[in-house]
């Protein structure tokens, strides 16, 4: 028992470095997914039929394949075909980010569509362009409504990041596996990995909960329902 703790104690800095990589990976992927997902959602709701179809196809593709298949397709397939020679970490951010964009776009699309048509009408009646109305009126409201769904996306992508083990990204699980094979003590090592994942999930979700409360519109029924 004691030597288990000692072993974990010694391995911890190495594992924690892995969690920094995981955080970077998840942060990068979520950010990429966000900046692609927003215009995708807007394009799907307000764009031409052609653009909407294009986005539909994108979402169909990235939501339709297992994340591991996507990783292999891009890392060993497309990226090497293009001779990009990307480090595994960068490739993982790209793949997870492009995939997250598909999911995030649908979170934002749902929020945009839940807003009444009147918001757009009123904005246009003041003389705002469509872009101005989307930027100043639609998105600030839609993003607020999207936080709970986005928090979900965070916790999912955090856990999905573990599959980048398969292309050798030095994240938590990859490092855990190294130690486990070296020490022949898989149980305590993977329990520690699990604990780190639980803490990261909890922490991120908590932060998003706080954000949700902070940007809540007074008087608006975003919070708990009385009935």
């Amino acid at each position: 028992m004691i030597e288990n703790f000692l072993m974990i104690y010694q391995a911890l800095p190495y594992l924690l470095k892995g969690s920094l990589i995981t955080i970077g990976l998840v942060g990068g992927a979520l950010f990429l997914g966000f900046i692609i997902g927003i215009p995708m959602a807007v394009g799907q709701v307000y764009g031409s039929r052609f653009i909407a179809n294009l986005i539909y196809f994108y979402v169909w593709f990235f939501r339709g394949l297992p994340v591991l298949v996507l990783l292999f397709l891009f890392y060993f397939g497309l990226f090497s075909l293009l001779r990009l020679n990307l480090p595994a970490f960068t490739a993982a951010i790209l793949v997870l980010g492009l995939r997250s964009a598909a999911y995030q776009s649908q979170i934002f699309r749902g929020s945009i569509q839940s807003l009444g048509e009147g918001q757009m009408l009123a904005a246009r009646s003041l003389g705002m362009s469509k872009i101005q109305a989307i930027w100043n009126i639609i998105l600030p409201q839609a993003l607020r409504i999207s936080i709970p769904g986005w928090s979900n996306e965070y916790s999912i992508i955090l856990k999905d990041s573990a599959v980048t083990y398969a292309i050798g990204v030095m994240e938590i699980l990859t490092r855990g596996n190294f130690i486990a094979t070296r020490t022949y003590k898989p149980m305590p090592v993977f329990l520690t990995c699990a604990l780190i994942f639980l803490i990261l999930t909890y922490g991120g979700v908590k932060i998003l909960d706080l954000l949700e409360k902070k940007v809540r519109i007074p008087g608006y029924t975003f919070g708990r329902k009385e009935i």
Partner: protein, 257 residues
């Protein structure tokens, strides 16, 4: 038509259909500076569509609109240039839910008129005072009553210094006891000489503020004229019956509320 300098808004032969259903079948009218036109008619006769055709929120299939002699339809200018000058008040208020009362008024000034923030704030505050809501400036729409929301939306439209104001059933979504304060605000505008087109069922109110009442049925103007003429001496029996019915429903006059 540009010859008459007094004419602020001119609407000519507006047609609109949705799928196969013809909503508007050629509506024309002119509004002079300072005039209040009230459009009445049974529901589903295209009154709201007509208002939206004026600022092109709905694009008419046929017909033209002029604002102060400049054509709004088929224009090379951006439609946004015209919409700034055409204030619109909606039945459901359509206040921006994420902004305070003050913010709702400011945003058009800052984003559309490119006014600097301090000036916009000052002007927004003045507009709120005009509708008696300076104490509610920092409340959000969800914290306001229906009547207060509608007054904010009037202030929001007025802040843009419009040439004409369009009201689309501004009191239809309000509780009866809140209608008075909104009508009061609109009446004040009429007194100050604002040019207005108003769709409403508040017939008593229409009678007291309208220079002309336009009766629309089945997408066409059946009859128009002064309130006196329409109430006392209408050309059509249909007009008399509609006015009688709506008077029974919505009461005689605003003063009795």
């Amino acid at each position: 038509m540009q010859s008459d300098k007094d004419i602020v808004l001119e609407v000519e032969d507006i047609h609109k259909k949705y799928r196969e259903e013809k909503i508007l079948k050629g509506v024309s009218f002119k509004v002079k500076k300072g005039e209040t036109k009230v459009i009445i008619g049974p529901s589903g006769t295209g009154k709201s569509t007509l208002l939206r055709c004026i600022n092109q929120l709905t694009i008419p299939d046929k017909g033209r609109v002029w604002l102060e002699g400049e054509e709004v339809t088929h224009t090379k200018k951006s439609i946004n240039q015209f919409r700034q000058k055409i204030g619109m008040v909606f039945q459901d208020f359509n206040l921006f839910d994420h902004l305070t009362a003050l913010g709702n008024i400011e945003i058009g000034l800052v984003k559309v008129k490119r006014m600097d923030k301090d000036k916009a704030r000052q002007k927004a505050m003045e507009e709120l005072k005009q509708v008696g809501l300076e104490n509610q400036a920092y409340l959000y729409p969800a914290q306001l009553s229906g009547g207060q929301k509608q007054r904010v939306s009037i202030a929001r439209a007025l802040a843009m210094d419009p040439k004409v104001m369009l009201f689309d059933e501004p009191t239809s979504a309000l509780d009866p006891e809140l209608i008075g304060e909104v009508l009061e605000a609109i009446k004040n505008l009429a007194i100050q000489g604002m040019t207005m087109v108003l769709v409403t069922h508040e017939i008593g109110f229409a009678r007291s503020v309208a220079n002309e009442i336009i009766f629309i049925e089945n997408g066409k103007i059946l009859e128009s004229g002064s309130p006196y003429k329409l109430f006392n001496n209408p050309e059509y029996e249909r007009t008399r019956r509609f006015l009688k019915k709506i008077t029974e429903l919505y009461g005689e006059s605003i003063e009795k509320r």
